[in-house]
Amino acid sequence: MQSKLKSRKYTTVSIPTTLYNRIKNLIKDTGFTSVSSYVIYILREIVAAHEEAKYKEPYTEEDKKRIIEKLRKLGYLE
């Protein structure tokens, strides 16, 4: 059995100092409390969009026919 574990772990990624300063200026008077929190926010947004772009619906043509038949029977399709 596990004992209590802290979940939050971080690692370091380097960015140019110029970019760091640019972000620091950008986030003044926003809800972001640090450059790191801004970078995490932006990266999560971008990474999720890239991951999802690769997705294809998981059903075959055969599945689709079977599902359409069921949807017709239930009255969802005419």
Binding site: Q2, S7, Y41, R44, A48, Y55, I67, Y76
Partner: protein, 384 residues
């Protein structure tokens, strides 16, 4: 294009014919754990991808990340732990790596097999404080949590039998809604979560959202709710009536979501959005005090939480309280109505429920007469 499943993959953990036959052959040799109805519907929901990317009950790593960071251990947003509680007696002799059969206590039927990846203890008080933001036993979610057993087990499941379902006609799984939305030609779909019979405020919000998207997915929650809430069959009949008389053809899909209300306010709003994303919704309506109860959460806390999830993959539509304005001559909201309070009729769900309890028809400035009529036909439309 309908929304991508959460975490990038629509999970399917339903045993195919061959797998099922093989499992059934060996099932007498696999130890059994009995599960209540709440857990049993979670099992079905995992198997059919409503809870994608989860493939089973959470192991400690995911559990603790969700509790503290509102994300799974792979960083994907997730706010409500999906856990299976057991007592020490129930798992006596079992160890990590063993297979168990999950049996519905209510139906006395094996519904799934599960490989135990991990057995771990949990702190219910800490859970309540982080998930419900309170450890007050009067909170229905806290009360339910405190009654749960002392250990949790995590691991992947495989569904072998479905539960009995009185609402088969209204049950669609994510793979089916995804086909349906594509067949209807909908590219943008707004999901609407509800545990209420519809009043004019709900309809206003739904139609306001529908104006800007292709289709509306009304997805009432069917399952454990607190006493005083509408019964499931009442909600469904009321919505059928509203759609029949007040929505254009092919603009709405009505299907149920079998799961329990947690009353976890902001965290549950994210959880509700994730499930609707898995059904294919691109947008999700979040109203005032979404999934709230009593005064445990701020009126718009469930909207504010969305700012922490830029990677949620479904667009929340935040709505303010809607009301009837005599000066405007219809339903409107704080955002667009300039008239003073004296012209406004606020639509209170509590007030409507009181009227219905007293067999009084709510006025047409609050509820459609056809909807009220259907609800009043029930002897007792509320959970006791």
């Amino acid at each position: 294009m309908v929304s991508k499943p959460h975490g990038g993959k629509l999970i399917n953990k339903v045993a195919n014919k061959k797998e099922r036959e093989k499992i059934i052959e060996q099932i007498d040799e696999i130890p059994q754990i009995f599960v209540n109805k709440i857990i049993a519907v979670d099992i079905e929901n995992i198997a059919h991808g409503i809870l994608s990317p989860l493939e089973g009950f959470m192991t400690y790593e995911d559990y603790i990340h969700v509790l503290n960071d509102m994300r799974l251990s792979n960083d994907v947003p997730w706010t409500i732990p999906i856990i299976l509680d057991v007592s020490k007696e129930e798992i006596k002799g079992l160890k990590e790596g063993d297979e168990i059969t999950l049996v519905s206590k209510e139906e006395n039927k094996a519904i799934a097999i599960m490989r135990i990846d991990e057995i771990y203890s949990w702190n219910k008080k800490e859970y309540a404080e982080l998930i419900y933001k309170t450890d007050d036993i009067n909170h229905p979610g806290v009360a339910k949590t405190m009654k749960m057993k002392e250990l949790l087990i995590g691991g992947e499941i495989k569904l072998i039998n479905h539960l009995e379902n009185p609402y088969e006609k209204y049950t669609l799984w994510p793979i089916e809604t995804r086909v349906l939305f594509n067949e209807l030609g909908w590219r943008t779909i707004v999901g609407f979560q509800t545990r209420n019979a519809p009043h004019l405020g709900h309809e206003y919000v739904q139609k306001a959202a529908l104006t800007f998207v292709d289709g509306l997915f009304i997805n009432p929650l069917v399952g454990w709710k607190k006493p005083g809430d509408y019964k499931d069959e009442v909600i469904l009949k009321a919505y059928e009536t509203l759609i029949k008389y007040y929505f254009p053809r092919r603009s709405v899909v009505l299907a149920i979501l079998r799961t329990s209300m947690r009353y976890a306010g902001p965290r549950e709003a994210i959880f509700h959005a994730i499930m609707r994303k898995n059904f294919g919704c691109t947008h999700f309506i979040v109203g005032r005090d979404h999934a709230g109860v009593g005064n445990y959460y701020g009126p718009y806390e469930a909207q504010e939480i969305f700012k922490y999830f830029p990677d949620l993959g479904i667009t929340p539509l935040f709505v303010k309280e809607a009301f009837y304005c005599h000066k405007c001559g219809g339903m409107t909201s704080e955002k667009i109505c300039p008239h003073p309070e004296q012209y406004r009729i606020h639509i209170s769900g509590t007030k409507i429920r009181e009227m219905i309890k007293n067999k009084t028809r709510p006025p047409s400035t609050m509820m459609r007469p056809e909807v009220a009529e259907v609800i009043l036909q029930f002897d007792n439309p509320f959970i006791t």
